[in-house]
């Protein structure tokens, strides 16, 4: 009888460490800052050093054991299972470490800004809730002589955090009004992913903010943060009202999305969002179209129940090693394969998304901007969109001379508040 030295745990650990090294290299190569294991932005040398350390420790740990060198270890199937398990564990670990380290950085940033604003978390903002639409946060007297700034935040709960960071870091002698729309994505969707109801609520919120401020100072500024720009483009009434009533002297579009996120991939969103951010945003926005896979999942369960007994029995009667692992996993794979061919979820063709534009049509914004001729507009393009922006140079019409484009490769839309240069840059773009 042949002697085996079966060390499944050791092999899985080996695979976990080495796969983690591979994933760190892949994350660096793809520029997925959201999966950065140490938080913040990816650093080439640090990532390479980390990956090398992981590879070296994996191989050293595994092959330093004489039982792993010249002795028969686990066989092919369990090796494959160990590799898949190691890769999955590495992925989960990377997602956790990226999320936790980013949360720690955000906590540190909040603590720093809280210290700057006198050791309390109060930022002097008064809140006004507009029922069913969102809320308005205000600071300052908003007199005719004041230098006011209106900030339109993204319609996500986490934008509140950025609002507090902005309130702490922007000069206290400037009046501040911030609009935080409610993160509502009704189930009935249009081609652009939001409903008419949302458009109306957005316009109501902007009107309420302008009404609450009262007299809009002539030297006012407007800051539109991230995806708020997209929602403004999709709500022409809100955009028209905003530009006509506010008539800002300067507009800063901070990290506006230039590519249609509805057509993007998970990889695109990992450029700056951590897995925790994505998981938090996912349920509220509908997530995956489960209905499309419902029939497939049902067929998979039935096929699994049919395939499971023989899949468990066959390896057992042939006395295969690890039959209790190979049986169920083989049954899962074979039953999925069968279920897919019975209930192909793609048979009915892809969704209508293929007819949607890949880039965001920004022309309408610049058309509306003509109604404020003296306004200077600065568009700050974040790292998330730089690749796409360079691919399509027609995003901003060339005839508008007062559009200033700033490429900011260090700015990540999902990690805005932890960017150390944010206060100084904002001050320069808004009042410089």
């Amino acid at each position: 009888m042949e002697t085996f030295h079966e060390d499944v745990a050791g092999t899985v650990l080996f695979c976990f460490l080495a796969c983690l090294g591979s994933l760190v290299l892949a994350v660096q190569a793809k520029g997925w800052h959201g999966l950065c294991p140490y938080g913040g932005r990816l650093r080439v040398n640090l990532s390479r050093a980390l990956a090398a350390a992981l590879f070296i420790s994996a191989y050293a740990l595994y092959f330093s054991d004489p039982q792993h060198r010249n002795v028969r270890n686990i066989e092919g199937f369990m090796s494959l299972v160990s590799l898949v398990m190691g890769a999955l564990l590495a992925l989960v670990f990377l997602a956790l470490s990226a999320s936790i380290s980013e949360e720690v950085r955000r906590w540190l940033v909040r603590a720093r800004y809280s210290k700057l604003s006198g050791g309390t978390s109060q930022t002097g903002l008064s809140r006004l809730v507009v029922e069913g639409a969102g809320e308005i946060m205000l600071r300052g007297s908003w007199s005719v002589d004041a230098e006011g700034l209106l900030v339109i935040l993204e319609p996500v709960p986490a934008a509140r955090r950025l609002a507090h960071v902005l309130a702490s870091c922007l000069p206290s002698n400037k009046d501040l009004a911030m609009i935080l729309p409610l993160p509502r994505f009704p189930s009935k969707r249009n081609g652009d992913g939001i409903s008419d109801d949302f458009r109306e609520k957005f316009a109501t919120l902007i009107d309420a903010a302008i009404e609450r401020v009262g007299v809009v100072p002539p030297r006012s500024r407007l800051l539109i943060v991230g995806h708020a720009f997209r929602f403004l483009l999709m709500s022409p009434d809100a955009l028209r009202g905003l530009l006509e009533k506010w008539r800002p002297e300067r507009i800063v579009l901070l990290a506006p999305p230039l590519e249609n996120p509805s057509l993007g991939s998970l990889a695109d969103s990992l450029v700056s969002n951590t897995p925790k951010d994505l998981l938090q945003a996912f349920p509220g926005t509908g997530g995956l179209p489960i209905s499309r896979f419902r029939r497939l999942i049902r067929a998979w369960i039935i096929a699994f129940l049919l395939v499971f007994p023989p899949a468990l029995f066959l390896p057992w009667i042939f006395r295969a090693r690890w039959w209790f692992v190979s049986g169920p996993s083989g049954a899962a794979v074979v039953s999925f394969w069968l279920a897919y061919h019975v209930r192909d979820p793609f048979r009915e063709g892809e969704s209508k998304d293929s007819s949607m534009a890949r880039t965001i049509p920004t022309d309408s914004f610049f058309e509306h901007l003509r109604s404020v001729p003296s306004c200077r507009c600065i568009m700050v393009i974040a790292a998330d969109d730089l690749g796409g922006f360079h691919r399509s140079s027609n995003t901003v019409p060339n005839e508008l001379e007062n559009i200033e484009l700033v490429e900011e490769p260090r700015l990540l839309r999902g990690k805005m508040s932890t960017w150390p240069s944010l206060p100084a840059r904002l001050e320069r773009w808004l009042w410089g």
Binding site: E2, T11, F14, C15, A18, C19, S22, L23, L25, A26, A29, K30, F55, F63, R69, N70, V71, R72, G76, S79, L80, L83, E102, E154, V156, A158, A159, L162, F185, R189, G193, H227, P261, S262, G264, S265, L266, A267, D268, S269, N273, T274, D277, L278, A281, F282, T285, G287, L288, P289, F336, W337, Y340, H341, F346, R413, G414, K415, S417, T418
Partner: protein, 201 residues
């Protein structure tokens, strides 16, 4: 048939004869011959291969290539078991005096299992990324030579393993329905999970 076996043994003797002459070469070959060193290294490289496409199209190709690697390994393993149930060729150290640098495997020698598995990586990836596949080719060739060098396989076993891997990769590519469920779902999940998601910090 005899001429093939004689030629095979002559080649085996020439390669295995180099064993024991140089300690460094022996150590290197023993490392490469290990059941896990090269196959797992190829597995880790496959993770890197799957995730480092330059654009969406290449991403989709690489996902397909990765699924094909698994399918090719599966098909080649089935073919290998089929062959070993008909052809029973003992290991070189059973019939001849060899310089054995490895443990004594008890299964049949023909065709070489490690050669089949490692060349499956090469042939499956070759269609999608020539550059990356060369890395797999070097590793697979190194392991195959080391198996002969260490005295556990004849060169003919390795050649048969390569042929099985090539045949399996070709069959998997032609029989698209074998891997389609897996790469279509994976591709969909990667490409569409973002759909409708607005995530911010």
């Amino acid at each position: 048939m005899n001429w093939f076996l004689e030629l095979d043994y002559a080649l085996f003797k020439a390669i295995n004869g180099l064993a024991g002459l140089n300690a460094l070469l022996d150590a290197t070959m023993k490392g490469l011959c290990n059941d896990h060193f090269v196959p797992f290294t190829m597995g880790f490289l496959l993770v890197l291969f799957a995730l480092t496409g330059k654009d969406r199209r290449e991403d989709a190709d690489r996902i397909k290539g990765t699924v094909e690697v698994f399918m090719t390994i599966l098909v080649s393993s089935l073919l290998l078991h089929l062959v070993t149930s008909f052809i029973h060729r003992p290991r070189p150290f059973v019939e001849h005096e060899v310089r054995l640098l490895f443990y004594r495997p008890t299964d049949w020698s023909f065709p070489s299992n490690p050669a089949t598995a490692t060349f499956s990586f090469y042939f499956a990836v070759r269609t999608y990324q020539r550059g990356f596949s060369r890395l797999f080719l070097v590793l697979a060739a190194a392991m195959s030579i080391s198996r002969v060098f260490c005295g556990v396989h004849y060169p003919g076993d390795v050649l048969a393993g390569i042929a099985l891997a090539a045949l399996s990769a070709w069959a998997v590519r032609k029989l698209d329905f074998l891997g389609k469920p897996f790469y279509r779902i994976l591709d969909y999940l990667v490409d569409r999970a973002r759909s409708r998601t607005l995530a911010r910090e």
